[in-house]
């Protein structure tokens, strides 16, 4: 049977949400092509136990490479192993997450196999037996529909777009990868510096609260941090280019054309006027909420919900109401 491959990213031996998104996306394509899904999972010893969650999200086969040498991402061994696995299974399509790891690995695999890769895909469909991918270009100022002139068709999918969906498959035990030899790596991760707020990145968070120049200074960010806190562990902080360029916030938080492009369930734009390059980074959010004192700000053309007013009055009230709501719900 034909195969669609999903690369299931792990960190610390556990699947990341993007792994389940990749499995879900692969399942959808496989169903349309009449194919099976093979999910590849690399990680430290014990990572085999993650196979269950992949099967629950549509994987027919789970291929594991477990070992200390796969505990951390390294481009060369990962490329080698995945290319071997692809040579063995000859998939029609391979789905990667467009995460930091996926965006480093997928191009290397594509170059090794000399096949085309479509990055940051937001839609996959099959027309006349051929895969069509839709992906934003010019940071989402336009969308490109593309087809593939080589096989396998490689895609990386934008986080938060393909919501993980359960579609349980019968349980065959995880298979070992074809040839999990360790090849020497000329790049080696020697340390990891973790950010205070933990792993949830603005690019992957279902809820994003972004602040702009209207915040008037970095000392007021505690107001946004309080709102993020109230919204719970699925929320993360973002920032406009203006405040990153001013040095108020780190670049890792920047949303926009020269920062992250995000598609959360809900995006709060606080004190952000909505320059074109910022819009490019957030206009695919499912719901957009803005608070701004200027009713003419371009952001209000994009929003679903907005409040015109002084954010220093609105924000504390908003935080308080959301905190109350969540307290009463739990």
């Amino acid at each position: 049977m034909a195969t669609v491959l999903a690369f299931a990213e792990t960190r610390g031996g556990r699947l990341r949400t993007v792994a389940l998104e990749a499995a879900t996306a692969a399942r959808g394509v496989a169903d349309a092509l009449g194919a099976d899904v093979a999910a590849c999972v690399f990680g430290p010893p014990g990572v085999e136990k993650e196979a269950e969650a992949l099967r629950r999200h549509g994987a027919d086969v789970v291929v594991c490479a477990a070992g200390e040498s796969f505990a951390r991402y390294s481009p060369e061994p990962f490329t080698h192993l995945l290319a071997e696995e692809m040579a063995r299974r000859d998939p029609l399509v391979a789905v990667f997450p467009a995460s930091a790891l996926g965006k480093d690995l997928a191009p290397r695999v594509a170059a090794r196999l000399r096949v085309g890769l479509a990055s940051e895909v937001t839609e996959l469909r099959v027309e006349g037996g051929a895969l069509i991918a839709v992906r934003p270009v010019y940071a989402g100022k336009a969308f490109a529909s593309v087809r593939f002139a080589s096989r396998p068709a490689l895609v990386s999918i934008r986080p938060n777009v393909f919501q993980p969906r359960e579609n349980p498959r019968s349980g065959t035990p995880a298979e070992a990868a074809a040839n999990p030899v360790t090849i020497s790596a000329r790049t080696r991760v020697v340390a990891f510096e973790e950010e205070q707020r933990g792993e949830l990145d603005v690019a992957e968070a279902p809820i994003v609260v972004s602040g702009g120049r209207g915040m008037k200074g970095p000392e007021h960010w505690q107001l946004l941090e309080a709102l993020v806190e109230a919204l719970g562990p699925r929320a993360s902080l973002g920032a406009s280019r203006a405040v990153v360029d001013a040095g108020w916030r780190p670049h890792a938080e920047q949303v926009g054309q020269t920062g992250k492009v995000v598609s959360p369930e809900v995006y709060f734009a606080i004190g952000i006027s909505g320059a074109i390059q910022h819009q490019a980074g957030m206009r695919t959010a499912k719901v957009i909420v803005a608070v701004n004192k200027d009713p003419e700000a371009p952001i209000f053309k994009l929003v679903d919900y907005g409040i015109v007013g002084d954010l220093f009055e609105v924000l504390p009230k908003l935080t308080e109401e959301i905190r109350k709501l969540r307290a009463s719900a739990s």
Partner: protein
């Protein structure tokens, strides 16, 4: 030290994108083109390394048409020693472009090859890692800090929720992220000097696209506001609507 920096000419971030009538590209009328913003960090880092080393050659390379010369002149004005225009058409995906670059680079002396982490037109974010793979070189992408301590190179790479510190050997490919440095502006003296620096042209033709563009479409329109309130009094109504109507709380 031999450093190459690969750059690209792209529309400025403030540009409104108008799709060409055939849906196969953008209408370039009135579009301001600039050096890809991420490439500025790559050029700056390359210049600093060369200045620290006190010797070496910094070569700027691009794949593009006649107009891309302007982009190369910008890099020369920032301080690169020489430039090469690979005259041709980039591919829609990264691989065709990477193959042309790798073919050009393969027989040249290389210590470091710099790229911006992605070009802000196609947003592929593929070419640096692909060139590394084709040249069988190590590569670190999304780099925000680069240093050499006791003869060992380290790059700090941005990932979700933190940074990886990556040790690597040279020759290597480095893809620069914003934050790596503060790029310099070309000085008047630099701009004058750039006019006299060597700019070589090599015909390479059109790169092969394995990902084929069917059509470009504008982004989906947003529905428009369903509720705009005024002042803190509107907060309760907003929260109610976010919970009951939008179901996001």
């Amino acid at each position: 030290m031999n450093i190459t920096v690969c750059v690209r000419r792209v529309p400025d971030t403030e540009t409104r994108i108008k799709i060409a009538p055939d849906g196969k590209g953008i209408d370039p009328t009135g579009v301001k083109f600039v050096l890809n913003p991420y490439d500025e960090f790559a050029v700056e880092e390359a210049l600093r390394l060369k200045e620290q080393a006190g010797q070496g050659t910094l070569t700027a390379v691009t794949l593009g048409g006649e107009a891309a010369k302007e982009t190369l002149r910008t890099v020369l004005a920032m301080g690169a020693d020489q430039a090469v225009l690979l005259k041709g058409e980039p591919s829609f995906d990264g691989l065709g472009t990477a193959e042309i670059l790798a073919e050009y680079l393969k027989d040249r002396p290389l210590d470091l090859v710099f790229f911006g982490k992605q070009a802000i037109d196609d947003d592929n974010m593929q070419v640096p890692a692909m060139v590394a793979e084709l040249l069988e070189l190590p590569c670190v992408t999304v780099v925000v800090e680069l240093q050499r301590k006791d003869g060992v190179w380290h790059a700090k790479r941005e990932v979700e929720g933190g940074h990886e510190i990556v040790e690597f050997t040279t020759p290597a490919v480095i893809a620069a992220q914003k934050g790596l440095n503060e790029p310099r502006y070309p000085s008047l003296k630099g701009i004058m000097a750039a006019k006299k620096k060597p700019l070589e042209e090599v015909e390479v033709g059109t790169a092969e696209s394995r990902v084929v563009l069917e059509r470009l479409t504008p982004p989906p329109e947003r529905k428009g506001p369903v509720f705009i309130g005024e002042g803190p009094e509107a907060v309760s109504e907003l929260v109610r609507r976010l919970r009951e109507e939008a179901k996001v709380l």
